[in-house]
C-alpha cells in the first residue's frame, strides 16, 4: 500500500483486493457485537478536513476512525480560520503541528489532496476532490458489488449520468478496471469529458442498449443546474433518455443490481420505485462505506510509525 490514498490508481489489484478483504473481515468481526469498537488505532489522530459540506461522507469517516479507537478531529471550513482566508497549506501545517497522523480531505478543487500530501508527513485520504476522484466511494461500490454478486472479474457495470463532472465515475472506472470488471459509461455526449476515449471503459450514448447486458447499473447524480449550461435541454428530456425508471429496470437481468452514490435526485436520474426496489443497494452502500473506510484507515495507519 502507498502511504496516501489520493486516487484509485494508487491501488494496484492486490492492494485493492486487500482493502476489500480487510473490510469484509472487519465487518464479520463486528457483526452482532454490542461494542462495535476495536483498539487498533488507539493514540492516533485522524483529522476530517472538509471544505465542502458532505455530512454523509464525513460521518462515515468519523465512524470508521472512532470504531478503530482513533481520536477524531472534525475541521470544517465553515466557521473556521479557513473561511478567514487561511491557505490550505497553512491549515495543513497547523493540523500537523497538532499531531494529526492522517488527514481525510474533502475539497472542491481537483488535486487539493495531492498538494496536501506534498506538504504533510502523515497520510492523506481523498474524500472527494472537485471533479477528480473519490476513491473510497469506488472501494465501497466495489465492495458492494462483490458482496451482492460474489465477484468482480468480468462483471459488467454501466455507469450512467454526468460523467464529466463526476469524481465517483473517475474513481470507479479506474478501480473497477483494476479489479477486472468491464465498465460502460452512459451519458449524453455533452456529459463526457473530451479525452474519455483514453479511459479503460466503453462509452455509449444509448442507455436502453446497455441495460440488458449490465450486471450492475450505477446511477450518478445529475444536477438540474447543468441544463442551464445547455448540457441537456431539460430535466424531463434527461430523465426520459437517461433516467432509470421501472420500465427500464424491467429489462435488467434477474440478479442485476442498481447502485447510487447518493444523494439521489429522485425523479431525475432515478425513479423512486427503483431506488426503493430490492435491486437497490443504496442503503448497503452506506453501511459498507464504514467498513471500507475502516479498512483504509487501518491499512494506511496501522503500520505507519507516528
Amino acid at each position: 500500500m502507498k502511504k496516501h490514498l489520493l486516487e484509485a490508481a494508487d491501488l494496484d489489484r492486490s492492494d485493492a483486493t486487500l482493502v476489500l478483504d480487510t473490510a469484509a473481515q472487519i465487518e464479520a468481526a463486528l457483526t452482532g457485537r454490542e461494542v462495535k469498537k476495536l483498539p487498533t488505532l488507539r493514540g492516533r489522530t485522524v483529522v476530517n478536513l472538509f471544505y465542502e459540506d458532505s455530512t454523509r461522507t464525513r460521518i462515515s469517516f468519523e465512524l470508521a476512525a472512532k470504531r478503530l479507537s482513533a481520536d477524531v478531529i472534525n475541521f470544517s471550513a465553515k466557521g473556521s480560520s479557513v473561511s478567514k482566508g487561511e491557505s490550505l497549506k497553512d491549515t495543513a501545517l497547523t493540523l500537523e503541528a497538532m499531531g494529526s497522523d492522517a488527514i481525510v480531505i474533502r475539497h472542491g478543487a481537483s488535486g487539493a489532496p495531492h498538494q496536501l500530501a506534498s506538504w504533510v508527513r502523515g497520510s492523506v485520504v481523498n474524500a472527494g476532490d472537485g471533479t477528480h476522484e473519490h476513491p473510497t466511494q469506488a472501494l465501497l461500490d466495489a465492495y458492494t458489488i462483490r458482496a451482492r454478486l460474489g465477484r468482480l472479474e468480468g462483471v459488467r457495470v454501466a455507469v450512467v449520468g454526468d460523467v464529466l463532472h463526476s469524481r465517483v465515475a473517475r474513481s470507479n472506472v479506474r478501480l473497477l478496471h483494476t479489479l477486472g470488471a468491464e465498465v460502460t459509461l452512459v451519458a449524453p455526449p455533452t456529459l463526457f469529458p473530451v479525452g474519455v476515449g483514453s479511459w479503460p471503459a466503453e462509452v455509449s450514448y444509448d442507455l436502453d442498449a446497455v441495460l440488458p447486458k449490465a450486471d450492475v447499473v450505477m446511477m450518478l447524480r445529475v444536477q438540474a443546474e447543468r441544463m442551464t449550461a445547455s448540457f441537456f435541454p431539460s430535466a424531463r428530456e434527461y430523465s426520459r433518455r437517461y433516467g432509470l425508471d421501472a420500465r427500464r429496470m424491467a429489462v435488467l437481468g434477474d440478479d442485476a443490481i442498481v447502485m447510487h452514490p447518493g444523494p439521489m435526485n429522485r425523479g431525475m436520474e432515478i425513479a423512486a420505485d427503483v431506488a426503493d426496489s430490492v435491486r437497490s443497494t443504496i442503503v448497503e452502500q452506506v453501511a459498507n462505506g464504514v467498513s471500507v473506510r475502516m479498512a483504509v484507515l487501518y491499512l494506511l495507519l496501522g503500520g505507519a510509525p507516528s
Binding site: Q25, A29, G302, G303
Partner: protein, 201 residues
C-alpha cells in the same frame, strides 16, 4: 492416566539456549499434542463439554483443531473450536506493519460462561496473548480463560504464563523459533534458528 502437571514456565525456564536445529520432529509434535490433549481432559474434569479451544491465527488455529480432535478421540466428547484474529488488537502494529486480517470464528454456542483455552504455537513476549484476551473481552464473557502453547521460548514482556505447554525451549532473544504445521506449511516440525549466544544487554 497420569498426565504430568502443567508446566510453570517462569520458575523453571532453563537457562541455556538451545542449539540451532530441529527441536521437534513430526512424531515429537504428535506426541506433544497427545500429551496436551490428555492434560486438557484431566484438568477439565466433568466440565469437558464446556471447553472451547480458540486458536490464534495463523498456526494456533490448526493446532486448536488438532487438540480438539485428540481430546475427542481420547474422551469421546466433541469439543468446540474457534479462531480469534488479534491483528486489530495488537499494540505493536507500528513495529510490525499492517497485515491481512484472518478469520474470527466462534462456535455457535458462543463463549459466554465457558472455559476458553487460547491456543497458540509459540509463547514469546506474551503480547499476542494479551491482544487475544482483549479480543475475547469484546466477543463475550467466558467463565475462565486458559492458555495452551506448543512451545514456550521464554522472554516474557508481560505477566502471562501458559497453563499447558508442549515443550519449554530455552532460547536467546536473538534466535527465532519456527513452528511448521502440516495444515499451513506441509510438514510438522519445530526448529530453532540463529546463534545461541545471548545478546549483550
Amino acid at each position: 492416566m497420569a498426565g504430568s502437571p502443567p508446566a510453570a514456565p517462569s520458575s523453571r525456564e532453563p537457562r541455556t539456549p538451545a542449539a540451532p536445529g530441529a527441536l521437534l520432529s513430526a512424531s515429537d509434535v504428535a506426541r506433544v499434542v497427545d500429551r496436551m490433549a490428555h492434560q486438557l481432559i484431566e484438568k477439565a474434569g466433568n466440565r469437558l463439554a464446556d471447553l472451547v479451544l480458540v486458536g490464534i491465527p495463523t498456526r494456533g488455529a490448526p493446532l486448536a483443531r488438532r487438540l480438539a480432535a485428540r481430546v475427542e478421540a481420547f474422551s469421546g466428547t466433541a469439543i468446540d473450536v474457534g479462531t480469534v484474529d488479534i491483528t486489530l488488537y495488537r499494540d505493536d502494529l507500528r513495529l510490525r506493519g499492517v497485515r491481512a486480517l484472518e478469520d474470527t470464528v466462534l462456535p455457535g454456542a458462543g463463549i459466554d460462561g465457558r472455559l476458553v483455552v487460547l491456543v497458540d504455537d509459540v509463547l514469546f513476549s506474551g503480547r499476542s496473548v494479551r491482544a487475544a484476551l482483549d479480543a475475547l473481552r469484546d466477543l463475550g464473557r467466558p467463565r475462565a480463560v486458559q492458555l495452551a502453547v506448543l512451545v514456550d521460548r521464554g522472554h516474557r514482556e508481560l505477566p502471562i504464563r501458559a497453563d499447558y505447554v508442549g515443550k519449554n525451549v530455552p532460547t536467546a532473544r536473538s534466535q527465532s523459533v519456527r513452528v511448521r504445521l502440516a495444515e499451513v506449511d506441509g510438514v510438522d516440525e519445530v526448529r530453532v534458528t540463529g546463534p545461541a549466544e545471548e545478546e549483550q544487554p
